[in-house]
Amino acid sequence: MPDHEISLRLHGHLVRYGGEKTSAFPVPIGSAETLAELIRRFKIPPAEISMIVINGQLTPRMDTPLHPDDEVRIFGLVGGG
């Protein structure tokens, strides 16, 4: 059983990898799980990610470890309008 949860929010077209939820939802994580592992778990192709924000900070490194109660936001590709 995982010990901890993070909050995950998928933006833009990435909602399709999380059941088309527009708001944040809790995700259980294992100890020492990294951002890359989380992204693999949700089957999000890295090329479709434009930006990742953890606790309000832009996070470019995929080996970033996740911590309990982290707020993770993953943004899809946009081109403006």
């Binding site: 077209h13 088309e20 708001s23 090329a47 479709e48 930006m51 590709l77 946009v78 081109g79 309008g81």
Partner: protein, 633 residues
């Protein structure tokens, strides 16, 4: 035999109530395609330099294209052009929807309108004929009321109507033209030119079947896109959240224009986001002729405060930022109401929002005379006053008398301190993209002949990463290396130049950038296949890019003839000052020297006279439009 186009251009003289049909040869269509290039062709040939944009000498062009109305996604757009009352230069705006294809089905590729009618009229175009009809009874109506009345008078609810609201009638220089109420030719004040000619509307209906050379080839591309559109992240994103997805994205990048472009992040972004729209007021997703992507929003509000009528569509990203963050307003329903009012009264929501944020900024800086303020609470964030100001602008009353001149004219009246707060180029208010955080967009604002325009080269974020679909999609142009969003160096200028040719072709050929690369799904190879399939011409990407380049040069020549030069290729002063507030780009500003070097390089790449910033004779000959030289030599 002509494939894809009718071979007929309708000319209407409103002064004498006469009309004629021009039948240009095939080479005319192949050289110019339609849209922007048709506009530039007729403006150069039919308008003398120095005419008043709101006078009877101005010429108004509605142009579909060789591809317009072909049975494939993203080929529905049309251009409206005239000398702009907002900029005094080349005016042009495009819209999607159904009107452009309907014009083709009615038997014409374009309409060229001259003169001014002595009384309000509308034009009824159907099955190869046109009729000038009395519109006195419709004058003063909102766009929705007038559309209903015209359809009722003509007895057909399937008639497509492009028309103006009270703002166009009152010649507000950023008045727009609506078709089907929610597809808007918003920019450069084309609605004011219609108003100045006493032309309320152009109604179209046709049953003509367009002859397509190779329907199977066209269908093959359309079916591929229809099949893959939900897999492709760009087209799926456009469908699911539309352009409003950009609100939170840009906020995190620090490029969400906030409080008149002072800041790049907005504390209320979440409340006006695409996500919030999906959760609350989104009623349905809509689209244009023959397009399965369905990127348009349709919203509805029924509250004690007001209702928002879904017939007028819903706010795009531009409206959310123009009436929202840039005015400090975080109330999504009120923004939706403002968007509805703008579409109903006939005002460009980008210029309208900028005019309001400008006076809010001036008010905060103590630059507004008491006579202007008129007792209003003009602080950033006042949603209620925003709605009032939109109505007052359309009817030119109260502070609206000033707002209805646009940002540049207001700033000139208020003096140098206010001019520093005026976010426009060539007199056109900037779209809601900060040129500081998107270098190619900044170049576009400066260089485009119609004034600040964001749809010129694609946004820098499309070309930031090697594996981005946008970057991958432009490889056939020889654009192979990614570059940073803030980079305004030589490689970015090269990318901007090439992409501006492609985008200009899109604007000549009814092509929607939300259906084609780099922003969406249809590839360059498929674009060429579509042109071949529709027309039967043995064409290439080279030939299509040259059409786009030709149109840019013609628009540039039109401006040059009216005295525009390098001095007009500017950027708002604000972009050379540090971004305030919080966010990743806090403190970032454009470098004047880098910007000027980019201009030098662009003019040289274009083979233009660097000092005058206009085409050389050699360039015009190379583009097979040496006749243009007579206008600018």
């Amino acid at each position: 035999m002509a494939f894809g186009y009718n071979g007929k251009i309708l000319h209407v003289d409103l002064k004498n109530s006469t009309q004629s049909v021009e039948e240009p040869p095939e080479i005319f269509y192949r050289r110019y395609f339609g849209g922007r290039a048709f506009v530039a062709y007729y403006l150069l040939n039919k308008i003398k330099p120095g005419v008043d944009p709101l006078g009877p000498e101005n010429v108004l062009v509605f142009a579909s294209s060789v591809l317009g109305g072909a049975p494939a996604h993203g080929l529905c757009r049309f251009s409206v052009g005239a000398k702009s009352p907002l900029t005094g230069g080349f005016g042009e705006s495009e819209a999607g929807g159904y009107w452009g294809p309907e014009l083709k089905f009615a038997g014409f590729d374009a309409i060229v309108i001259t003169g001014k009618s002595p009384r309000p009229v509308y034009l009824w175009v159907h099955d190869g004929t046109a009729e000038i009809r009395d519109a006195s009874g419709f004058w003063g109506m909102t766009t929705g009321e007038a559309q209903d009345a015209i359809q009722e008078e003509l007895g057909d609810s399937k008639i497509r109507v492009a028309l103006i609201g009270p703002a166009g009638e009152n010649q507000v220089p950023f008045a727009n033209i609506a078709n089907d109420l929610s597809h808007i030719t918003g920019r450069t004040g084309m609605g004011a030119v219609m108003g100045s000619k006493h032309l309320k509307a152009i109604a179209c209906r046709g049953t003509k079947k367009l002859e397509i050379k190779d329907p199977e080839a066209v269908s093959k591309v359309a079916q591929r896109v229809s099949r893959d559109r939900k897999e492709n992240p760009m087209s799926y994103g456009l469908h699911w959240m539309g352009t409003p997805a950009a609100v939170l994205h840009f906020n995190h990048l620090g490029t969400l224009p906030t409080r008149n472009f002072r800041e790049g992040t907005f504390a209320g972004a979440e409340k006006i986001s695409g996500e919030r729209m999906v959760e609350t007021i989104l009623k349905k997703r809509e689209g244009c002729y023959a397009c399965a992507i369905q990127c348009k929003r349709c919203v509805a509000v029924e509250s004690e405060r007001f209702t928002v009528d879904p017939r007028y569509g819903g706010p795009e990203y531009e409206a959310l930022a123009a009436l929202g963050s840039n005015c400090g307003i975080d109330d999504l329903e009120t923004i939706a109401k403002g968007n509805e009012l703008a579409n109903k009264l006939g005002l460009d929501v980008i210029s309208m929002g900028n005019s309001i944020s400008f006076v809010m900024d001036c008010n905060e800086q103590g630059l507004l005379p008491a006579g202007w303020v008129d007792g209003l609470d003009l602080r950033f964030g006042n949603a209620k006053v925003m709605l009032q100001l939109i109505e007052d602008t359309a009817y030119r009353r109260g502070l609206g008398r000033h707002l209805s001149k646009g940002v540049r004219a207001m700033a000139r009246e208020l003096g140098p301190a206010a001019e520093k707060l005026a976010v426009h180029t060539k007199g056109q208010e900037a779209p809601l993209h900060d040129g500081r955080g998107k270098a190619a967009v900044g170049l576009g604002y400066s260089l485009v002949e119609k004034g600040a325009d964001h749809l010129v080269s694609g946004f820098d974020i499309l070309y930031e990463r090697r594996d981005h679909p946008g970057m991958l999609s432009v490889a056939p142009l020889g654009l192979l290396e990614p570059m940073g969003v803030l980079d305004m160096g030589p490689k970015k200028v090269r990318l901007f130049t090439y992409m501006s040719f492609l985008w200009s072709f899109y604007n000549c050929a009814s092509v929607c950038n939300f259906a084609f690369i780099p922003r969406s799904i249809t590839t360059l190879a498929e674009l060429v296949e579509l042109v071949k399939g529709v027309t039967g011409w043995e064409t290439s990407l080279w030939e299509l890019m040259k059409v786009g380049e030709r149109a840019i040069n013609m628009a540039r020549a039109f401006n040059a003839r009216d005295g525009f030069s390098r001095k007009d290729d500017t950027l708002p002063e604000r972009f050379f000052e540090p971004l305030e507030g919080e966010g990743p780009l806090k403190g970032f500003q454009l470098d004047r020297r880098v910007f000027q070097e980019a201009l030098d390089l662009y003019y040289a790449m274009m083979n233009w006279d660097t000092e005058k910033a206009r085409p050389t004779r050699a360039k015009l000959i190379e583009l097979d439009i040496d006749w243009v030289w007579e206008h600018i030599k």
